[in-house]
């Protein structure tokens, strides 16, 4: 067994889309799934609905996480809104790993490194169809994490990676959101089923 590398996740969203909550939920799900050390980092500034925001999660099964700095070279990048892709520090900052994008449309993969695996899932549509909304806005975070369960990431050694269970998402969503958790879970299942590997 080689030394475990800490799995690092970056989430790009717009203020109000739930990326910061997603980073925390990912921690809770991973912790329930046996990751012993987890860290969620919201990059918080002046809160602005619609402005680009970042949140990070670090996950580890054995090693203690001691580094609270922002993730610079993410293993997994989740993009909540395809309009963020061309912005500075989004696609151009990706050096390796896997990318999950919330979109129902074609994605110009030339913006991403050619050896990255890229997945899409039409999460906004799924949330709107199920009426999973808050103040009219679709809720994206739990469904995107549902899609994440189908994303395959292993580190260089192949020994460590991301393995999340939809069942855990159900458990955590119901614990956090009560009855609404069931709807969140339903959306997560659909998002996982509709995932496409586009590169």
């Amino acid at each position: 067994m080689t030394d475990e590398r800490i799995i690092e996740v970056t989430m790009h969203g717009r203020g109000g889309q739930g990326a910061i909550t997603a980073a925390l939920l990912l921690c809770e799900i991973a912790y329930a799934d046996g990751y012993t050390d987890v860290l969620s980092i919201p990059k918080i500034g002046a809160e602005r609905r619609g402005a680009p925001i970042k949140a990070f999660t670090k996950l580890s099964r054995e090693r203690k996480i001691k580094n609270y700095a922002a993730v610079e070279d993410a293993d997994i990048t989740i993009i909540f809104d395809p309009s963020l892709i061309p912005l500075p520090g989004v696609a151009e900052a990706i050096k390796h790993g896997v990318v999950l994008i919330n979109t129902a449309d074609e994605v110009d993969v030339s913006k991403f490194p050619s050896d990255c695996k890229i997945y899409t899932s039409p999460v906004t549509n799924i949330a709107l169809e199920l009426n999973l909304t808050a103040a009219g806005y679709p809720i994206l975070n739990v469904p995107l994490l549902g899609a994440l369960t189908k994303v395959k990431f292993r580190d260089e050694t192949g020994e460590h990676g991301l393995d999340l269970n939809l069942e855990t998402i159900e458990k955590i969503a119901i614990k956090k959101f009560g009855q609404r958790g069931h709807l969140n879970y339903e959306a997560a299942v659909k998002a996982a089923a509709q995932i496409k590997e586009i590169q």
């Binding site: 925390l24 921690c27 809770e28 912790y31 329930a32 012993t36 050390d37 987890v38 860290l39 969620s40 980092i41 919201p42 990059k43 918080i44 500034g45 002046a46 402005a51 680009p52 925001i53 970042k54 996480i65 001691k66 580094n67 609270y68 700095a69 922002a70 610079e72 500075p88 520090g89």
Partner: protein, 433 residues
């Protein structure tokens, strides 16, 4: 009994603080919001009515105040009456509370106020991690601790009253942790079961030995002390109490470890591979914890690096720090906060230079001051490796290397001058938001 809504799992630092205060059975919390502390008092406003605590007969009074100065004043008032009191603040809020902070010390009140440290403001606002706020209260007589993990926030506030209310101490404690770095990030936190917490926390008293509010036994507080009276002696007593707190903090840590199996060094300092280190990097807060990753890497490459985290800063653990400095001749000291115009621009590095004069054996130790992470700028792992490399170069060549960011004898880590720190695109405008 009602099951707790939260007992164990990933939790934000601020919420860990709120739960710890409740588990320490505080009588009074007084509150005023300020970023990045706000969610501490927000969560407490929920917890004081939480069934888990009400079912167990715990009663906590929650006072919303109109400013931090009033928060300080109400903490003082409640504490005069013998109440176990807690609040939290940060940055400018702490500055506004400052007059009452000094009052807490002068009146010898065992209050705990946690600080989600943030940059101080003037000219431009900053709300991110920087210990300039708590360092500004350094000489007020409060006890200051720097916390480095989410679990440590919970544990330290729970332990806090055992120190402050100890007969030998009777001084306020201000545990500080990095704003956003710990306050808003989440990591696994485990509470102590409520019943066990009650057995651990120091038993409550109806009133303090030296001050009370009782109409049958009127007492005057806040009188004028003439120069020929005891003002100087009272001040010296507070200094004596600071020094007496050193063993109390150690004993509290030892007792906590015995009961709950967790510890943070001896409560004063936390060494990491410091016993046989050729060079030692001393720091505080989460950056000092992060330095342990750099130590691991350097050890694997054959360099004997070590780290020492100062957990208790006031009272200053002179002997505990010197014990590790004695073993090496090259020591870096990392401050995250600026002491304008001081010999090194860092409060801790200046202190450490001073205590090294105490013994012959530490007088020729080379102290290298570092400053970085101001206003919440990340200190990266690579930058910490570079700090160690500077120390090793000094050890091997006898001379500290020249760097563009070395100014006035201090290395200013992570400045926007190096090739990697140049803003790209419109990053400068968006900052790191």
């Amino acid at each position: 009994m009602t099951e707790p809504r939260f007992f164990e799992g990933p939790q934000k630092g601020n919420l860990a603080a709120a739960y710890a205060a409740m588990d320490a059975d505080i009588d009074v919390v007084t509150a005023y919001p300020i970023t990045p502390q706000t969610t501490v008092v927000e969560e407490l406003s929920i917890l004081v009515g939480e069934k888990e605590f009400l079912d167990r007969g715990q009663k906590t009074h929650y006072l919303r105040m109109e400013s931090e100065h009033s928060v300080g004043a109400s903490l003082v008032g409640a504490s005069y009456a013998g109440a176990r009191t807690y609040s939290a603040t940060a940055g400018q809020g702490l500055l506004y509370m400052s007059e009452m902070v000094h009052w807490m010390v002068g009146a010898r009140l065992p209050i705990v106020v946690s600080i989600a440290s943030r940059g101080l403001t003037g000219g431009a606002w900053n709300i991110w991690a920087d210990y300039g706020d708590i360092i500004s209260q350094r000489d007020s007589g409060i006890m200051i601790q720097f916390l480095a993990t989410h679990q440590e926030i919970y544990d330290s506030i729970l332990m806090g009253f055992n120190v402050t209310e100890h007969r030998d101490v009777m001084l306020p404690l201000f545990p500080a942790y990095g704003g956003f770095v710990l306050s808003h990030t989440a990591m696994p936190v485990k509470r102590v079961p409520w019943e066990e917490a009650q057995k651990f926390v120091i038993p409550k008293k109806d009133e303090w030995d030296h001050i009370w509010i009782d109409s049958e036994r009127p007492m005057m507080a806040g009188a004028l002390i003439m120069p020929q009276n005891f003002y100087a002696e009272f001040r010296i007593k507070a200094h004596e109490a600071q020094l007496k707190a050193l063993p109390v903090i150690k004993d509290t840590m030892a007792e906590f470890e015995k009961r709950f199996g967790r510890s943070y060094g001896n409560g004063l300092v936390e060494p990491y591979m410091a016993d046989d280190a050729d060079v030692l990097l001393i720091g505080y807060g989460s950056i000092a914890k992060q330095a342990e990753d750099a130590v691991d890497t350097l050890r694997k490459q054959g360099y004997r690096a070590g780290a020492l985290r100062v957990r208790t800063y006031r009272p200053f653990p002179t002997e505990d720090i010197l014990q590790y400095i004695k073993k090496t001749k090259v020591v870096g000291v990392m401050d995250r906060g600026i002491a304008f115009g001081s010999p090194t621009a860092g409060a801790l590095s200046t202190d450490i230079m001073a205590v090294c004069q105490r013994y012959e054996s530490t007088r020729d130790t080379q102290i290298v001051p570092f400053i970085g992470g101001l206003g919440g700028r990340d200190i990266t792992y690579d930058e910490q490796i570079e700090q160690f490399k500077i120390l090793f170069e000094l050890k091997e060549k006898g001379e500290a290397p020249k760097k563009p960011y070395k100014m006035w004898g201090t290395y200013w880590t992570g400045l926007i001058t190096g090739p990697d720190k140049v803003p790209q695109g419109d990053e400068e405008y968006f900052g790191d938001i």
